[in-house]
């Protein structure tokens, strides 16, 4: 294992919408893998400002790192985590 610093961008490798969620999360919600410029692919949720609808994300597009609560539920709203949003535009700040 080697430690590496990661930047704020990545590329959307794959994504889908889950219509069933484990406890503490609310369906429907996006599921995604983002390929970091530094190499690894990581599982990630998508920022809550992106409407959960087909067509909102395009595999291969540039993504930008944000930090926000893991989910808007009582169990998870106080846990801050990394998520990604499309890099295009500024709507998802």
């Amino acid at each position: 294992m080697i430690e590496a610093r990661i930047g704020r961008t990545g590329r959307l490798y794959s994504h889908s919408i889950a219509y069933v969620a484990p406890q503490g999360f609310t369906a429907p919600y996006f599921q995604a893998f983002v390929e970091l410029a530094e190499g690894p692919r990581i599982f990630t949720l998508i920022g809550r400002n992106v409407p959960v609808e087909p067509g909102q994300l395009v595999d291969g597009e540039e993504m930008r790192l944000i930090v926000e609560p893991l989910a808007d539920t009582p169990e998870k709203r106080n846990l801050l985590t990394h998520k990604y949003v499309p890099a295009r535009g500024t709507a998802h700040a």
Binding site: Y13, S14, S16, A18, P22, F43, T44, L70, T81
Partner: protein, 392 residues
């Protein structure tokens, strides 16, 4: 290494058995396996017990194997507990095989057991999620995504690459529901149509409810022994020609190493001295039905993208050249995770002995493969892969 034979198998039906604790499920399977072999509990010299979720779901965090075996009258012997997610049972079988093959024991028992119905579905789902590396489950990955978009299989990408349609994804579920309808041990015995499967509730796009294996209770067991003991126990011993276990690998994008299910199967083929064309029947790990299409290519049954054609042409149906999942597979027979691998083995033993009843493959199979896998790591691979080849 010595030859090792399976001389008895037994299983508890899969399904929802609220009145039965884990050890009762296991006992039914163990008693049936011993009876099948004409063996008594005192004949068992060593035992390997596979279970995945019992700690979280029943609260029996430790000594689950000893508890179950004591209930079945098997005491005073080495008992090894095995946890390897959905591949716990075939991992237990490998332990039993290894002890007999090495000469450490002559008669060994392998057990797989799981109790998933505990009256709280959310708790069961959380326990299942705990079979993935924490950074996946805690970050909110719904485990169906492990098939829908995860790099190791990525069904969504395969649809783009191969032109597979939702109807193609449904085909294994339809085929296996027919097989399951003939299996008295199966959890789901309703025959499904393409329409039923495609139009059932979406879980994680493109996977629908009937493409997913479901929560299940169940257990299975196999008694294995050396050649000289085999003749005493059984008129129809089944030889374990290969029993391969390996962990997944950590892959970065661009990794060109062969797929791990494929590598595991290849190792098993080499050890058994056969190739995929020699297989007469296969039980494989269709935790999500479309995975069966991918596993066809990874096991060497077809070229990339040809999975749906194997079903269209009837090659993998019960009457085909190489029937796949005659038991109904994980989606129809059921997927009590820590029992699944030995449920596959039990089915193959029945098929090889010509004892599978209405779902018996007419041209009696001689060579069989069980492919089982489990868990998900951050390494873009499943955590565990097994491949077991049986021959008569």
């Amino acid at each position: 290494m010595r030859d090792v034979f399976i001389v008895g198998v037994g299983a508890h039906a899969t399904g929802r058995f609220m009145e039965k604790p884990l050890k009762a499920l296991a006992h039914a399977a163990i008693a049936a396996a011993l009876e099948d072999a004409g063996a008594a509990p005192r004949d068992v010299q060593t035992a390997w017990v596979g279970n995945s979720l019992g700690g979280l779901l029943t609260g029996q965090e430790g000594i689950r194997g000893e508890v179950a075996l004591q209930h079945s009258g098997i005491v005073g012997v080495p008992v090894t507990n095995v946890e390897n997610a959905c591949a716990s049972a075939t991992t237990a079988l490998r332990g039993a095989w290894l002890e007999v093959a090495s000469g450490a024991a002559d008669v060994a028992l392998a057990v797989g057991m799981e109790k998933m119905f505990v009256g709280d579905t959310a708790r069961t789902i959380a326990a299942l999620a705990a079979d993935s590396e924490l950074e996946l489950s805690e970050m909110g990955m719904q485990f169906t995504s492990g098939y829908a978009i995860h790099p190791k299989i990525n069904i969504k990408a395969r649809m783009r690459e191969y032109g597979w349609t939702p109807a193609d994804l449904a085909k294994p579920a339809v085929k296996n529901s027919f097989n399951g309808s003939l299996n008295p041990l199966a959890q789901h015995r309703k025959r499904l149509t393409i329409d039923d499967v495609v139009h059932s509730r979406m879980v994680v796009d493109p996977l629908t409810l009937y493409m997913c294996s479901s929560i299940s209770d169940g257990a299975a067991a196999a008694l294995v022994c050396s050649a000289d003991r085999a003749a005493r126990f059984s008129k129809k011993p089944v030889r374990i020609a290969a029993c391969v276990l390996r962990s997944g690998i950590y892959r970065l994008p661009g990794d060109t190493r062969v797929d791990s299910a494929q590598a595991t199967a290849q190792e098993a083929y080499e050890k058994a001295g056969i190739g995929p064309d020699d297989l007469d029947v296969v039980e494989l790990h269709d935790a999500m039905a479309p995975a069966e299409l991918m596993l066809y290519e990874r096991l060497g049954l077809c070229r990339p993208g040809e999975g749906p054609r194997l079903i269209d042409e009837g090659i993998t149906t019960l009457t085909g050249r190489v029937p796949v999942n005659p038991s109904g597979g994980l989606c129809s027979r059921g997927h009590p995770v820590g029992a699944t691998g030995l449920l596959q083995i039990a089915e193959l033993v029945w098929q090889l002995r010509g004892e599978a009843g209405p779902r018996q493959i007419a041209r009696r199979p001689k060579t069989a493969l069980a492919q089982n896998q489990g868990g998900l790591t951050l390494g873009q691979d499943s955590a565990v892969y097994t491949a077991t080849i049986l021959q008569v």
